[in-house]
C-alpha cells in the first residue's frame, strides 16, 4: 500500500495546544480546596537526625499538618528498585528520612498548607537537630574503605559484577600493543524543563485515588504506588498529563509520588507538590557517574584483540528504580561497532552520599560508547593510523549480521561503513585533514573527532528487562468512523500522537485528523510499560500495527458478509474493501475501471442492504459492527482490537558523527567549525521528528562534553544547585548540525524501525572530545576528561 503519511514530514498534532499555552501540565490542573506540600530536605550529605521540632511550623498561618519520618514508617513501603542483581545490597529507602539523612536534598518532613507560599514559609520553621557524619563522596575512595554509609552492609560496595566472553587475558597478552586510559563520566542532571510534580486526590465515597504525575511510566507507577501505600490497584488511577520532558528522569517511582497519594487519603483533600529547580537538581535522579579504566589490545595493523573495562559506578545513597542496572548496560555495549574477540567488564558499584544515579538519556550506553570510541582514538594515535581508518578496519560487514558480540548481544542489522563513508563525504574529510595540517603549520589548533557508534534500543525482550519489555495497543474504530488508538507508551515530547497517527492513518486508509492517540491514563488505557529506552515506536508502534491488522481481519469478514461475496473477492485499498481492488490485485496490479452499479458481474451484487455497493469503507464497516444487526455468524459486535507485542530482540541503531573544532590559543575556548552526523535508526516514520530527536540528543552531548557537571564538594554539599551553576547549553553555544541518514530496516519488528531517542547523547560526546584531543595532539594530549573547559585547554596550550 502506498503511504500517504509514513515517511513524510507531517506537522505535529500535539502542537496547537502547546503553542497557544492551552496544554495542561500537572501544575496547570486546578482542583478546588487543593492543599500544597513543601519539603524540608537535608542540608547535610550524611547526618544523624536527633530530633525534629515542628511546633513553630504548625503554628504558622495556613499550615494544616507536618509529617515526618515516624508518621509514615509503618504506613508507606520503601521506594522500589526493580533490578535484581546477584548479591545486590538494597538499603531501606523510606519516603521520608528515618534516623539518618543520606544526601543533600533527602526529604525529612512534608509541610502541608493552604498555599505554596505558606508551605514554604513553614518549611523554614521546622527545626531539625542534625549530627553531621563523615560523608562518602568520591566513588573510588568509597570502594577502598574509610567511612561506611550503611554499617549493616560492612562496606560501601552495593555489588560487584564481571561479565563478557572470550579469554581476555590471552587477548590482551597476545596483542602487539595494549593501551590504557582512566576515563571519567561525570554526573549529569537530566534537567527536564518541567520538573517533577504530583497532584493526588482521594475520593472517600468511591474509595478511589487518582494521582496525576509527570512520569514516563504511568502503569508501572500505578502498580508500585499500590504496593507502597497498600491500596487496591484497581481503585488507583494514574494520569500522566502533558509532560515537560523526561530524558529518563521520570522513568522512576519517587518518594513524593507515594507520599502525596497517602497524604490525600489522610486529609480527604487534593494535595499538590510541584518540584522547584533546586529540588530537581538535588533530588531527581542524576545520570552517568562512572570512573573507569579501559585497556584495549590491538595488532600493529589496527585489528582489535580485546577490551577490558574496570569501572567504579557511583550509585548514590539509594537505589531508585533502575539504579544498579545502568552499569550493566554499559557492559553490554562495550563492543561498540567493532569486532572485538574478547571483552570483559568488572563493575564495582558503590554507595555514596549523593542523589541516586539512574537512567538519564542513553543510560549506560553513552558511557560504553565513550569508552570504546576514546579507546579507538588511542589505538589510532598509537599506531599512526587515521581515526576513521582504524574504525573501518574493525567493522563487521553488512553480511555478518546478525552479529554476535563478546558482550552476548546479537546486533540485528547494520551497515556501519556506509554511514562512515557518507559522513566523511559530507564533511569533505580528506580535504579537512589537509586543512588541519596546513593550519597546524600556521600555528592554529584545529581538531577533527569521529564517533562511529552503535546503540541498543527498543527495550526490549521481557527476558532481558526487570519488569516487562513488551508494549500494548488498542485500536478502535468508533461508530462515527473516528479512530481511537490507546497506547501503553507514554510520550512526553517525542511526538507519537502524530507519528502513531501517521502509521494508523496509512494502515486504515483514513485521514490523519480522524485518528486520536490516547496515552498516559491508566483509567482509560490498557496496561502498558511506558516510554524509555527508545522503545515507543519500535515496540509500542508495532503493537499498534498488529492490533490494526487484527482489526482489519475482522472488518474484512464483515465486509464480505455485507457485500455477499467471498472474502477472497475483496481487497483493502485506500480505506475501502472493494471487489475492484481485489480484481486489480489479481490482474497483477492493473486497476480496473470502477464497475457501474447494476452492471456488476453476475450473482454477487447488488443486494438491498448494501445499497448497490461493491465496496465499503472501513468506517462504514465500523458503524455496521456497532449496530450489529447483520454480522457474520459468531462475530463479536464492535470494531476494536488489542495487542500486546513482545519483541524477540533489541534493535541496534548506529551512525557516524564527525566534528571539527578550532581552539582559541588566547582563551582556551573552542568553536565548532562543522558538525556532521549520519544516523541510521531503521525505517523513518517522520523525518522531522527524527531530526528533532537527534538535534536534542547531540546538544545534550555537547552539554556533557563541554559544560555540564553535577559537582559535590568533599563534604557532599551540592555545589551546582541552580541553573546558574549547572550549565545547560544555550542557543548561541551550539553549531549548525548537518544531518543525513541511511536506512537499514530492523528485522526485529514489522515496521523496520529501530529507535532514535538516545542516539544523539550516545554518539556525539566522543566525536566532540575526540576533536579537542586531536586539536591538542601537538601538545602530546591523548585524552581529556569531561566537561572539557577552556581553563583546562588554556593550561595545556600555555604550559
Amino acid at each position: 500500500m502506498a503511504n500517504k503519511y509514513v515517511g513524510q514530514r507531517v506537522k505535529r498534532t500535539e502542537d496547537p495546544r502547546l503553542i497557544k499555552g492551552l496544554a495542561h501540565y500537572v501544575d496547570d490542573i486546578r482542583l478546588p480546596d487543593t492543599l500544597h506540600v513543601s519539603f524540608v530536605r537535608s542540608i547535610y550529605a550524611h547526618a544523624r537526625i536527633n530530633s525534629i521540632d515542628t511546633t513553630e511550623a504548625l503554628k504558622a498561618p495556613g499550615v494544616v499538618v507536618v509529617y515526618t519520618g515516624k508518621d509514615i514508617a509503618e504506613k508507606i513501603g520503601p521506594v522500589p528498585c526493580a533490578s535484581a542483581l546477584p548479591g545486590l545490597k538494597v538499603p531501606d529507602y523510606r519516603v521520608l528520612a528515618q534516623d539518618k539523612a543520606y544526601f543533600v536534598g533527602h526529604p525529612i518532613a512534608a509541610v502541608v498548607a493552604t498555599d505554596t507560599y505558606a508551605a514554604r514559609d513553614a518549611v523554614d520553621l521546622v527545626m531539625v537537630d542534625y549530627e553531621d557524619l563523615p560523608a562518602v563522596v568520591d566513588v573510588e575512595a568509597a570502594a577502598e574503605g574509610g567511612p561506611v554509609i550503611y554499617e549493616d552492609f560492612g562496606d560501601n560496595i552495593a555489588y560487584k559484577l564481571t561479565a563478557g566472553e572470550g579469554d581476555i587475558e590471552a587477548a590482551l597478552g597476545s596483542a602487539d600493543r595494549v593501551l590504557k586510559q582512566r576515563i571519567v563520566h561525570q554526573r549529569l542532571a537530566p534537567i527536564a524543563m518541567e520538573g517533577r510534580g504530583v497532584l493526588a486526590r482521594y475520593f472517600p465515597g468511591e474509595a478511589e485515588l487518582t494521582v496525576w504525575s509527570s512520569t514516563q511510566i504511568p502503569h508501572l507507577l500505578r502498580t508500585q504506588l499500590a504496593l507502597m501505600i497498600g491500596f487496591p490497584e484497581n481503585k488507583l488511577r494514574v494520569i500522566t498529563p502533558e509532560v515537560g520532558g523526561g530524558f529518563g528522569s521520570k522513568l522512576n517511582v519517587y518518594a513524593e509520588e507515594a507520599l502525596l497519594g497517602w497524604i490525600s487519603m489522610q486529609l480527604n483533600k487534593p494535595v499538590k507538590w510541584i518540584e522547584t529547580r533546586r529540588e530537581n537538581i538535588q533530588a531527581t535522579i542524576h545520570g552517568r557517574g562512572q570512573v573507569g579504566y579501559v585497556e584495549i589490545g590491538c595488532m600493529n595493523d589496527g585489528a582489535l584483540t580485546g577490551l577490558r573495562y574496570n569501572v567504579f559506578a557511583d550509585l548514590g545513597a539509594y537505589h531508585q528504580l533502575l539504579t544498579p542496572a545502568i552499569p550493566t548496560l554499559t557492559g553490554l555495549m562495550l563492543s561498540g561497532a567493532y569486532k572485538i574477540p574478547a571483552i570483559q567488564i568488572n563493575v564495582t558499584a558503590c554507595f555514596t552520599n549523593k542523589m541516586a544515579t539512574d537512567a538519564y538519556r542513553g543510560a549506560g550506553r553513552p558511557e560504553a560508547t565513550y569508552v570504546v570510541e576514546r579507546a579507538l582514538d588511542l589505538v589510532a594515535a598509537e599506531l599512526g593510523i587515521d581515526a576513521a581508518e582504524v574504525r573501518r578496519r574493525n567493522f563487521p560487514a553488512p553480511n555478518e549480521f546478525p552479529f554476535h558480540t563478546a558482550t552476548g548481544l546479537e546486533y540485528d542489522s547494520g551497515d556501519y561503513e556506509t554511514a562512515l563513508n557518507n559522513a566523511q563525504a559530507m564533511i569533505g574529510y580528506s580535504k579537512l585533514r589537509e586543512e588541519q595540517k596546513q593550519a597546524r603549520d600556521e600555528g592554529r589548533l584545529i581538531g577533527i573527532g569521529i564517533s562511529t557508534y552503535v546503540e541498543i534500543c527498543a527495550l526490549g525482550p521481557s527476558q532481558a528487562m526487570p519488569a516487562g519489555g513488551w508494549e500494548s495497543a488498542t485500536v478502535r474504530i468508533e461508530p462515527t468512523g473516528k479512530v481511537t488508538v490507546l497506547t501503553g507508551a507514554s510520550p512526553h515530547g517525542q511526538g507519537q500522537e502524530t507519528s502513531f497517527a501517521q502509521i494508523a492513518a496509512d494502515e486504515l486508509g483514513v485521514d490523519l485528523n480522524d485518528v486520536t492517540v490516547i496515552h498516559g491514563d491508566t483509567g482509560i488505557v490498557q496496561y502498558g510499560i511506558g516510554t524509555f529506552g527508545s522503545r515507543a515506536t519500535a515496540v509500542g508502534g508495532t503493537a499498534m500495527l498488529i492490533a490494526i491488522q487484527k482489526l482489519k481481519e475482522k472488518a474484512h469478514k464483515i465486509a464480505a458478509h455485507m457485500l455477499k461475496c467471498e472474502a477472497s473477492n475483496l481487497a483493502f485499498e485506500g480505506g475501502r474493501y472493494s471487489m475492484q481492488a481485489a480484481k486489480a490485485a489479481a490482474a497483477g496490479g492493473t486497476s480496473d475501471p470502477v464497475v457501474p452499479v447494476g452492471e456488476a458481474p453476475g450473482g454477487a451484487l447488488p443486494e438491498p442492504h448494501t445499497e448497490g455497493k461493491s465496496s465499503l469503507t472501513i468506517q462504514d464497516i465500523a458503524l455496521a459492527a456497532h449496530i450489529a444487526k447483520d454480522l457474520p455468524p459468531d462475530t463479536e459486535p464492535g470494531l476494536s482490537a488489542t495487542y500486546f507485542f513482545e519483541p524477540k530482540n533489541f534493535t541496534f541503531p548506529f551512525g557516524t558523527h564527525i566534528c571539527a573544532v578550532e581552539i582559541d590559543r588566547e582563551t582556551g575556548d573552542l568553536k565548532f567549525l562543522r558538525y556532521v552526523a549520519v544516523d541510521d535508526c531503521g525505517k523513518v516514520i517522520n523525518p522531522m521528528l527524527v531530526d528533532g530527536q537527534l538535534h536534542g540528543g547531540i546538544v545534550q552531548s555537547i552539554g556533557q562534553a563541554l559544560y555540564e557537571e553535577v559537582v559535590y564538594d568533599e563534604q557532599g554539599q551540592l555545589v551546582t544547585g541552580t541553573l546558574m551553576d549547572y550549565a545547560v547549553p544555550r542557543a548561541s553555544q551550539i553549531p549548525w548540525l548537518e544531518l543525513d541518514r541511511t536506512e537499514t530496516p530492523s528485522p526485529v519488528n514489522p515496521l523496520g524501525v529501530k529507535g532514535v531517542g538516545e542516539a544523539g547523547t550516545i554518539g556525539a560526546t566522543p566525536a566532540i572530545v575526540g576533536a579537542i584531543v586531536d586539536a591538542l595532539a601537538p601538545f602530546g594530549v591523548k585524552h581529556l576528561d569531561m566537561p572539557v573547559k577552556p581553563e583546562a585547554i588554556w593550561k595545556i596550550v600555555n604550559a
Partner: protein, 156 residues
C-alpha cells in the same frame, strides 16, 4: 496586608488585591488562571515564564505582581489575534520548534521580541537573542528555523 493592583492582561483589565510578595508569574497562573506561562527555575535563568510587559519581554518569575500595576501584559494565551496564530507560533508549528512544549510559551515570546527589534535577524543574532531561554529538547536548531520562518512570513 494586601495591595490593590490594576493590570491589563491580554486586553482584559483586572483589579485584584495581592500580597506584595506575590510573583507576577503566580499572579498570572494562580489568580488569573492563565497557566500557559510556565515556571522552569524561579531564578530567571530558564526563561519559561517570559511574558510581554508594556511590549518588553520580561521573566515573570523575577518580578512582583505589584510591580506590574498599571501595566499591560501579554501572555502566550494573548499572542494570537482573532484566532490567527502569531507568525512565530506558526513558525514553531511549521518547523518543529518544540517537543515537550514546556519552554515554548517563553521561547515564543522571546522570539517575537527578537523580530520586533530586528525583523530580519541572522542565525547568529537569533541564537544570541534566545540565550535567555533554555530548551532541553530541541537543541535549538528547529527553533532558529522557526524564527527564520516567522521573519520571512512577516516580510511577506
Amino acid at each position: 496586608m494586601k495591595t490593590a493592583i490594576s493590570v491589563d492582561v491580554n486586553g482584559v483589565s483586572h483589579e485584584n488585591e495581592v500580597e506584595p510578595r506575590l510573583l507576577l508569574v503566580h499572579y498570572l497562573r494562580d489568580i488569573l488562571g492563565l497557566t500557559g506561562t510556565h515556571i522552569g527555575c524561579e531564578t530567571s535563568l530558564c526563561g519559561a515564564c517570559t511574558v510581554f510587559i508594556d511590549g518588553q519581554a520580561v521573566k515573570s518569575c523575577t518580578m512582583f505582581a505589584v510591580q506590574a500595576n498599571g501595566s499591560s501584559v501579554t501572555t502566550i494565551e494573548g499572542l494570537a489575534t482573532n484566532g490567527e496564530l502569531h507568525p512565530v507560533q506558526e513558525g514553531f508549528w511549521e518547523r518543529h520548534g518544540l517537543q515537550c512544549g514546556y519552554c515554548t510559551p517563553g521561547m515564543i515570546i522571546a522570539a517575537a521580541q527578537i523580530l520586533e527589534r530586528n525583523p530580519q535577524p541572522t542565525r547568529e543574532e537569533i541564537r544570541h537573542g534566545l540565550d535567555g531561554n533554555l530548551c532541553r529538547c530541541t537543541g535549538y536548531q528547529h527553533i532558529v528555523e522557526a524564527v527564520e520562518y516567522a521573519a520571512k512570513k512577516a516580510a511577506g
